[in-house]
Symmetry: D2
Subunit: 356 residues, 4 copies
């Protein structure tokens, strides 16, 4: 990680010869030159000990649009590379855009269980203003004896809700070989906290073409979190939304310690959107409302909230899920805070709902 990092953003429609001549000059000066493509730009990522002289030579080559010298360990995720906010669109016309002026709330049950549960949960969250749905089909569980999710059947149930409502869905993928079919059945892939450094999974998810929701590892530093995102951008996927979901601390009065200063700090360091999971972080329904409001106030771009209309019988993490009434209350209280920081709640774009 020594030396400097030079990102050479290439002009669109440069010829292969023009690009190769840039690489030759970099190589001649002892720099590597890896071709990459992210957020509609082609670029060369170089590492070495280049001089300002070299940079001015490269800047003037015909294939070169601009040259960015990045000082830290992050590169493509850094605001040095891209100062303006990245907008990540999920879903088509009825979808959601993270990182722009709208505040996006994703809601739904922790785990997909059956049609009845999904209809009930989705009706209630959409009715209260959620603009995107969540639901786990593949659940990473601490014990091999715990409910591991419905798998493919769960994916199908989730896809039914996607069709019924027209809203985009996000669901977790836990192993590289599942990426392809999870990407087919959903609009956004979630990488969970236990897999933040499952680098092969990151590479596959990055290559899938789907937007990715990257949860922070429960003991990851901000730098490690951004470098995990760097794995995604580095293989060409710029549609990454970060999600703070609580870190491990000595204090166990909450399940994890929600680290909201990390949200503000990440927003400063990276151009990527950052959202907050107040459900898994606190593990307690009565803390979801205050933490949702705090997240909106400190600059988060959205929330992902567990809702279950029959929490006592939930097959997974029911204790922390909000009831429909509690979720409606959160949404009501959230609106003025979102507006107080100069944003608006993303408007519902769901179809009028009919049961599946």
């Amino acid at each position: 990680m020594e030396g400097i990092i030079v990102i050479v953003v290439l002009r669109p429609h440069s010829s292969r010869e023009e690009i190769e001549s840039v690489k030759e000059i970099l190589h001649a000066h002892g720099l590597s030159a890896m071709e990459s493509s992210v957020m509609d730009s082609s670029m060369l990522i170089s590492e070495g000990t280049g001089t300002s002289e070299l940079i001015s030579i490269v800047e003037n080559l015909p294939a070169v649009e601009r040259v960015v010298v990045v000082p830290g360990v992050q590169r493509l995720t850094s605001r040095v590379f891209r100062p303006e906010n990245t907008h990540v669109r999920v879903g088509a016309l009825t979808g959601a855009v993270f990182g722009g002026p709208e505040f996006v709330v994703i809601a739904g049950p922790c785990a997909v269980e059956n049609v009845t549960q999904m209809n009930a949960a989705v009706d209630t969250v959409v009715g209260s203003g959620a603009v995107m749905l969540r639901g786990g089909a593949f659940k990473p569980r601490t014990s091999p004896y715990s409910f591991q999710g419905l798998g493919l059947a769960g994916l199908t149930l989730l896809a039914e809700q996607r069709k019924r409502t027209g809203l985009p869905v996000v669901t977790e993928v836990v192993t590289p070989k599942d990426v392809e079919f999870v990407a087919e059945e959903s609009d956004m892939l979630q990488i969970g906290t236990r897999n933040m450094q499952n680098f092969e999974l990151l590479r596959e998810a990055g290559a899938s073409g789907r937007p990715v929701l990257l949860k922070r590892g429960m003991s990851a530093t901000i730098e490690e979190w951004l470098l995990a995102a760097e794995y995604l951008l580095h293989v060409g996927n710029g549609d990454v939304v970060l999600c703070e979901r609580g870190i491990r601390s000595y204090d166990r009065s909450t399940r994890f310690t929600l680290d909201l200063s990390a949200v503000a700090e990440a927003k400063r360091l990276t151009h990527l959107p950052v959202i907050v999971d107040p459900s898994h972080s606190t593990g307690q329904p009565h803390l979801v409302a205050p933490m949702s409001l705090a997240a909106a106030a400190c600059g988060a771009d959205g929330l992902i909230i567990d809702v279950h209309t029959d929490a006592r019988n939930a097959m997974c993490d029911g204790a922390q899920a909000l009831s429909g009434e509690q979720f409606a209350d959160v949404m009501t209280r959230l609106t003025p805070v979102v507006e107080a920081v100069g944003r608006t709640m993303a408007p519902t774009r769901a179809h009028s709902l009919a049961s599946v």
Copy 2:
């Protein structure tokens, strides 16, 4: 901590004989009975294995107003004992009230240095709407070779600002023998994070008659924090304001990890006001604004913010202090968030300012 805790709140103006007869009955049933007086109530605090039968006997004694059975380890600080919010008034007419509808911002330099610095800092924070002043005269410092504060001279400089502005001041007290004169020269005693479990200091501060600002220990659980407050209430001082100031976690991108869920959780467990220190927790000026807004959004009753008009030359923690412009910006952005959660910014009650 086994058995039950019974708090017998006594009627005002009960006679000594009436009170003694309550104690006799408690003793006869094997319960201790410690007399205490807090928040304008006299009471007996008992510990034992009392039955509901005993409680109904005691409830009907002439000296007894009500009997509260507290299940957990907190007692006087618990909402079980006192469901409604406690309002803590600091200073006289021009003072501040914590825990009510007004959101209270305390500001000033980390350490008192000299008249010029104090005039400049106080002018700027009062001008932007701070309603209470801070400034350290006795500084607990990790190294014996670091600046330890001006001591008595610092107290005098702070008292001058109190007189000049009419605003109440809070300052830290670090050892029991200093409590008396610090209490004379200030309106509120601060117990710092390193002294949260300095129990002799808590007892002295509790006995001083002054309101106390109790910072959370940097590795204290919420329970330990409330039990530290219990030391204050237990000796008869109900004017306690809690302050979350960041905990130690593995992540050192911020100086400490601000634990805002602890604010919401403490507000649920205790009737005491809770404020937030966004300066010492994050250690970074650019995080003070977002964390201030988040604190207000999640239900904090106020903030305490470091401001220094010449931070580069500050003798203590200058790196984290806001400039006057930065503080003004925080206050501007804070107002709509405070209003979005149904509260108002405490109005300035300062005298028109003249230099000391």
Copy 3:
């Protein structure tokens, strides 16, 4: 995780019909009955709310050898299930046995780089008494721009050392699809700290038939660590060695905080062997010797140590690797401590060495 867990250990050579009749009785009483096979025993793992009456019925069925009721969340890894130490043999005649009276030291470079480096490192560690070799071919790296290991070429270089010395080798596997060929080229699969809860990888590694070295997650509780091992046993692989490698704490004077009380506690809770990694935990060569001695003293079954004969030019984690001289010193000082706790250093069983 509610109710009781009943493990029905089946007699060897029970007929299919006899086994089915046990399952029927369990089902008739509302218990599940999953067939499993681990450590040379076939068994049924049941979950439900069985009565002691049911258990005495089951105990008397012809196919049933014994019935174990396990109270906690661990099952096959628990000493309740298997009181005596499990011995895990790695490699053939010249191999190592973990969990018995011998103390086993694994050593080698963090990452496999080239033939020269491997020859030098292996010669020095074998000369000083290491009985098993380590070397990483697939490296999980925080940054996508860091050296990721030589991959297949690295595996080949490691296999050459295995052949040259006759000693068993352990190497990390980072993704399910690699398990098969890594298992072919090595004697033991390492699951790294970042993959402790990569459950699909655990399942594949468990099914590989190779012994597994399971590193503790850097923020895993002991319970979570044992449940990760449970994933391996649960698919039939009882040859699991646990490895404590440091946890994340607030103190960064060492890279991680080596948690030796977790070693003693894990040895109490589980029958599986537990070893210690003093290199990655402390991140500092001068702490490897004292922590190695401490590990031996508190009951660890062995060590895994980074050694590089040219640490300054190491491609990965060179800063923490011991030189050959430092490793020899550790081994010399280790011997009397190992003997003081009633064990012996595992004797070298290497071939006389010739360069590859």
Copy 4:
């Protein structure tokens, strides 16, 4: 903490004039010059931006024995200042010496309760080889409603055991005003984990003339711990023994996480002795033996262990105390490990015991 730190060690019997002339030269070059006296040396501690030229001038002054330039933030506690181990003698002829070749075990009950308890506990620990006694009279307790120690009566009971056995005793002091009489009744003052940064208490304890046992704060870094010791040395008390007693981490399977790498690291950084408390750190009797052995193996100079002959009825922390049999077992297993690292168990120097 900027600039350099220069410690000017003065020749014994230098005249006041000679010393003043050194100070003048330092002042003339813009350095402060604080007089201090520790470990039989008088010295001037200076801070500034001195040049090597200045140092060579100062070195040649008649009053100057040597000049030490210390690079880090520790000064008098640093091995740069004093490379050889400091030996701290506690008590007179029958006392203990920490930091030398002997390994010192302190034992006794957490809290002093009554004569019977003290006789029983002391008889058993002395019989098994403890060479120094512990017992708390002033207990810092998380809750104001918990047993706070017997206070003066407890001190008297402890002093009786001191007289009866001839062995030195250590006991905790919790507030500055108690230092004087606790110093009279005991041989060593303990500063507990909650008071490690109670700086006024450190200054008083430092000035008492008694050796001090300084426990590490439960969330203190090694640097903060050494700087707390610096407060003691800085006022002239060089008889300081450090004690690692566990830190707060996310893992609550033990009460605290015993950080043995901090012992090895502290031994490297400072010349002061370092011992380990395996009782309060783990909070579990079955972990005391393995952690005691590990402490000895990694270079600790001794142990402090809770023993209670009737742990179930202990008034404080009984759950973690060893029985007499368990303590005897620890001592038996400890001896060979102590010898394996080239040290010896400190021999008992107690009087033949008679009941008080």
